[in-house]
């Protein structure tokens, strides 16, 4: 399942919905990305998240399907927030559930690496005075490339 929303999310509620009635899940991994008050040395007071409606949903769906093709997942969820956020706020949630921990861990890392390099979101930071677009990181491209085999 994938969702793009302005609202915050609650991890326990999302897990409860995702795994309701299931007794075949032995390992559940969540990744939460949050706004930090300092990014590459710059103070951050607000973060504005823009996306490409339509393409975002398609791309997240594709990335999730790819994870299910690669690992034995029993459930998964991707939530990405858009709009205006502040330090300490949640940005993204990935949940992966599997019988064993290796699949859940690997799939969660894969989802985040692919999301970071392929899902059409763009961040604009403000320190309260000036705004600037956040630059893509080479380290994210490198992280995504490790799944290319």
């Amino acid at each position: 399942m994938i969702r793009v929303q302005t609202d915050n999310f609650d991890i326990s509620s999302e897990i409860a919905t995702l795994t309701a009635g299931r007794k075949d899940i032995g390992a559940l991994v969540t990744f939460t990305g949050l706004v930090r008050d300092l990014n590459d040395g710059d103070r951050v007071s607000t973060l504005e998240l823009e996306h490409y409606p339509g393409m975002t949903e398609k791309e997240l769906t594709r990335i999730e399907a790819e994870a299910h093709a690669r690992w034995a997942l029993r459930a998964s969820l991707i939530i990405h927030r858009v709009g205006r956020l502040e330090p300490g706020d949640n940005i993204v949630l990935v949940i992966t559930a599997s019988a064993h921990r290796e699949d859940a861990f690997k799939a969660a890392e894969f989802l985040m690496d692919y999301l970071k390099t392929r899902a059409p979101f763009w961040k604009r930071e403000s320190d309260g005075a000036t705004e600037k677009w956040v630059d893509a990181r080479d380290s994210d491209d490198l992280a995504a490339k490790r799944w290319d085999d």
């Binding site: 490409y52 393409m55 999301l115 899902a119 763009w122 961040k123 677009w133």
Partner: protein, 83 residues
């Protein structure tokens, strides 16, 4: 054809969405980019470097060699920074 611009690229060209009647002879993204550069100084600057330019055809990532013939929606944007 609908053309969309996102992120810092949209700020540079000053428009987020437009309907464009493409001139004859543009068959792939690369030729469309060359044409974009000719439109005005803002577009010339925004499309100058390919290094930080990304594109999607009909809401799918596409390399610059991809054909645009029959495309309904094309988007240009800088590398994504979500997550």
């Amino acid at each position: 054809m609908k053309v969309l611009y996102f992120g810092s690229l949209r700020d540079m060209v000053g428009v987020s969405e437009e309907d464009i009647d493409l001139p004859e002879g543009l068959s792939d993204l690369h030729s469309l980019i060359v044409w974009m550069r000719s439109r005005n100084d803002d577009f010339a600057a925004a499309f100058e470097s390919l290094v930080f330019l990304r594109a999607a055809i009909d809401q799918e990532h596409a390399p610059f060699e991809a054909s645009i013939i029959g495309a309904r929606e094309i988007a240009f944007f800088p590398p994504v920074t979500g997550g």
